[in-house]
Amino acid sequence: MTNGDLEFFLDPSRCIGCQACVQACAECGTHRGQAMIHLEYVHRPTGVQTAPVVCMHCEDPTCARVCPADAIKQDDHGIVHSAAKPRCVACSNCVIACPFGVPKMKTELDLMMKCDMCYDRTSVGKKPMCATVCPSGALYYGRREDIAAMRRETPVNEFQFGRQTVRTKVNMMTAPDMRALPFEVLDFLPWEGKDFDPFELTRAGAPDVAASAVWEDFLPASEEAPARCGSHCQCHP
């Protein structure tokens, strides 16, 4: 790549879920109307946390290794590309095996397509579409020293999935002084005998409005029950 000192940094905690990245991804020359980036609510019933996921471009990509047809290639810059059209047999091995859940199976095309860091742009010195437009800085493409100067979080590119270590080209912002992102699954799973809803954890950082608000019984039991704090309420001074 001509801009070898520019890297991708991901900080999902800043994301506001606006989907500018998704809309812009579809505009990239290699994508032609298909968005490769993922952006979903983690669990909308309990909160507005969203998870933007681009391809992390693993050093040893699981997707490429599980491909039966040698269709997924990593280039000299470490970019893991969409499946080669002549080879892809649309088996979905990559979709199911990727630890980050990145590849997309376009069933209508019998073809796996995935984030290629906007190769047509990055290969000529431009930023990827998603990271250019992202209004929150959740997706950032730039120099390591710039992000170090701007942010309190530090970038890591190592993930520990249980016993599997995965190193990636794309960086994840995490707490200062972290070497790798500790990745936990068991805490977020329902277990027998466990008496809480694991999805409650998706509220990380944001409270239930009801829990942080004062509200009273708002539906009156009978016609006569006084409404609270309305025009006929006595509580205001």
């Binding site: 506001i16 209004p135 409270p207 608000a213 708002f218 539906l219 409404a227 205001h236």
Partner: protein, 721 residues
């Protein structure tokens, strides 16, 4: 009688909204002929963007990273805005009402019909019986022209604009407190703030680009306080979230100030030297103890104290608000009580310290500055002040008595049409059927019009009622300037010309003036000439653009007003050194007791109803409901409610519910989420007809600003299936 002549489905089939998914020429549309550096056509950030142009069509976009405000960043609307060009629904020729909807007409016929109707109505019922409604998404040039056209060509007092639905409460409050109506600080001050209050602003969805400014402040250690009945995306990670009960904002601000005064977190020196009337406020807020405030607002007393503890002693701070506190019958009071929080600390007019309102519309700021409002003349002048009237009458070359007096505001114009007092209407880029509260009454009013003319590029739901539709121009088909939410006047470049038989808006207005016999006042050859006149008209006024030229704006990537001389660099930050714009240079505190909303909950309608936006749609959706990607993102309105309320009503996620108010009802799917107060439901308002949230809302107006109360009324929710 302006009634519909064909069924709704037929209008949709003929004129849309049709969601467009692919760019002009398809995904393989090849290399563009040129890239035009211009701005997004949507909200008041006015993001810089480069439009790809090929064969006189906009075929895509490229980020414009050099523009300092957004640095290439865009929200989903900005990314897809290019799809409004070369759109299948585009009006390509004037239309005249017929028995099967509309028939295509020539310009001669359409313009003469319009001019004849204006003359006829005004001859029979008086000049003021014909009204003009403008828009705040149009250029400064057009805003100025609309005002001049109404006063000189139509000679009507009744000209107003859809900004009346947007930030007039903030504007009025700003003038009352500071003597001028503009955000006090450039947005570049946000990252320098140590504490930020975001009140009544769903910043991440309605002004997404400012999210980055807020995050940059947080990167530097700032704390943010979000005040909203809903956990919006920016609220999720807030340091403090105050879930205010709808309609209680002024009480909350009074409560916070109570704690600040009690703890001594006020800047007495600043208050004494630079402000008036703090004593009245001090006296008033004594009653707003945290406990009392908790009872009124539904915000826990401990959170109110915490907010005061964060805000009070802060080193630097910014307070930003939007429609959440402004869309109330006490909108001006709400804004003024929050301004009290800023003035009491003296943290204004300094780097990283200040205040701003977030403008919703593309030219929300500029659209309200140049005389498009019923009470205002160019340069932000007051139509009721004799010296201001004199200046503008002279400038235009008409006798002062011929200059109409103050007329009715937007909602009042609709009311007057309903009462039969206004018989004719010309509107441009305004879709009141979707955007004005109580849409059933708006529809009834439209049906009563003797003549209704519309200038627009798509056939909006309102334009279906028109007698004549004049095919106008999209933003990229014209040029000019807009003034962003921070007071920065930026340059819109012409990218393409209007397609086929459509025309540039300002030329239509000028030609109409000619047909009304006023051509000598409207002799512009290009938009630049209108701008030159506009700046000259503003000279010496409260809003002074007189030192601006297109070249200067382009070179500086925008100029902040006031800019009174050609050498003047513009004024990014107001009130430096504590100098405010009232004649005595001081700011004013305002002591307002909390009062309930016009319609509060009661046993019959026990739930609060509030409305707002989603990130993928803009205003009444005339443009964004025609862009496929944006439609897919949030296809139709949902009713947000808390699981505690849902459970009580036996409603599950995606069940179909009916929400009823005293004015109307809407049937739609429920979205059961913990991100909203259990006593409140929320519906976004961008859709028309049976999906319009404004069927429910209350057209009660703020006595000062005449803004309607969109943000609170009482409703009942029933499960349908």
């Amino acid at each position: 009688m302006a009634t519909l002549t064909i069924p709704e489905e037929k209008y949709i089939e003929l004129y849309g909204p049709t969601p467009a998914h692919t760019p002009s020429g398809g995904w393989d549309n090849g290399e563009p002929d040129k890239l035009v550096k211009t701005h997004c056509c949507f909200c008041g950030v006015q993001c810089g963007i480069q439009l790809k142009v090929k064969d006189n069509k906009v075929t895509g976009f490229e980020p414009w990273e050099e523009f300092p405000v957004n640095q290439g960043k865009l929200c989903p609307k900005g990314v897809k805005r290019y799809l409004q060009n070369d759109h299948p629904d585009r009006l390509l020729t004037p239309l005249i009402r017929s028995e099967d909807g509309f028939r295509a007409a020539g310009w001669y016929e359409a313009m003469h019909k319009t001019a004849a109707a204006i003359k006829d109505i005004q001859a029979k019922h008086g000049k003021d019986a014909f009204a003009f409604l403008g828009g705040a998404s149009m250029t400064n040039e057009k805003a100025y022209l609309n005002g001049k056209f109404a006063r000189i060509a139509l000679q009507t007092a009744n000209i107003d604009y859809n900004g009346r639905l947007c930030m007039v409460s903030a504007g009025a409050a700003n003038r009352m407190a500071f003597g001028v109506d503009r955000a006090a600080n450039p947005w570049s001050d946000i990252p320098l703030a140590k504490v930020i209050i975001l009140t009544g602003t769903n910043l991440a969805e309605c002004f997404p680009i400012l999210t980055d400014y807020v995050w940059r402040a947080r990167d530097a250690g700032a704390k943010i306080i979000v005040i909203d009945p809903r956990i919006t995306p920016i609220a999720r990670t807030a340091d403090l979230f105050l879930p205010v009960r709808p309609g209680r904002d002024s009480a909350l601000a009074n409560g916070i100030l109570h704690v600040m005064i009690e703890r001594g977190w006020t800047d007495e020196k600043f208050i004494a030297e630079h402000t008036h009337d703090f004593d009245k406020v001090r006296e008033l807020v004594k009653r707003y103890t945290p406990e009392v405030t908790e009872k009124i607002t539904g915000v826990p007393a401990a959170s109110i104290i915490k907010a005061a503890e964060m805000w009070g002693p802060a080193e630097t701070s910014m307070l930003l608000h939007a429609r959440g506190i402004e869309h109330h019958t006490k909108g001006v009071e709400n804004v003024l009580t929050y301004i009290n929080l800023v003035l009491a600390t003296g943290r204004i007019g300094k780097p990283g310290s200040g205040y701003g309102t977030i403008t919703g519309q593309g030219n929300g700021q500029g659209g309200r500055e140049h005389g498009q409002r019923c009470n205002q003349l160019p340069g932000g002048r007051d139509i009721n002040k004799p010296e201001h009237r004199e200046f503008i009458a002279d400038f235009w070359g008409i006798p002062e008595p011929e200059l109409p007096k103050q007329g009715l505001t937007a909602c009042e114009i609709i009311d007057a049409i309903e009462r039969g007092e206004i018989k004719g209407l010309l509107s441009i880029s305004f879709n009141p059927l979707v955007s004005i509260p109580d849409s059933n009454r708006t529809r009834a009013a439209l049906e009563k019009l003797e003549f209704f003319g519309c200038i627009d590029f798509f056939l909006s739901e309102t334009a279906r009622y028109a007698d004549v539709v004049l095919a106008g121009s999209l933003q990229e088909e014209d040029e000019g300037t807009v003034t962003t939410g921070e007071g920065r006047c930026v340059r819109l470049r012409n990218s393409v010309s209007p397609p086929e038989n459509a025309r540039v808006d300002w030329k239509i207005i000028c030609e109409l003036a000619e047909l009304l016999g006023k051509e000598k006042f409207f002799t512009y050859k290009n938009a630049g000439e209108i701008f030159t006149e506009l700046t000259a008209a503003s000279k010496g006024g409260p809003i002074d653009y007189s030192g601006m030229t297109y070249e200067k704006i382009e070179q500086n990537m925008g100029v902040f007003w006031p800019c009174p001389t050609p050498e003047h660099p513009g004024t990014p930050r107001l009130f430096e050194g504590g100098k405010f714009h009232h004649p005595d240079g001081k700011a004013k505190f305002h002591a307002y007791e909390y009062r309930p909303p016009a319609e509060d909950v009661d046993p019959e309608f026990p739930i609060f109803f509030t409305s707002g936006r989603v990130v993928s749609q803009y205003l009444s959706g005339t443009q964004t409901r025609r862009i496929g990607g944006l439609v897919d993102q949030y296809p139709e309105p949902l009713c947000e409610m808390h699981p505690l309320l849902a459970e009580r009503l036996g409603i599950k996620d995606r069940d179909v519910v009916r929400v009823v108010t005293r004015r109307g009802d809407i049937t739609l799917p429920a979205q059961v989420v913990k991100t909203i107060r259990p006593d409140t439901v929320f519906i976004p308002y961008h859709w028309a007809g049976k999906k319009a949230a404004n069927q429910l809302t209350n057209r009660a107006l703020d006595p000062i600003s005449k803004i309607p109360e969109y943000k609170v009324c009482a409703c009942r929710v029933e499960k349908v299936r």
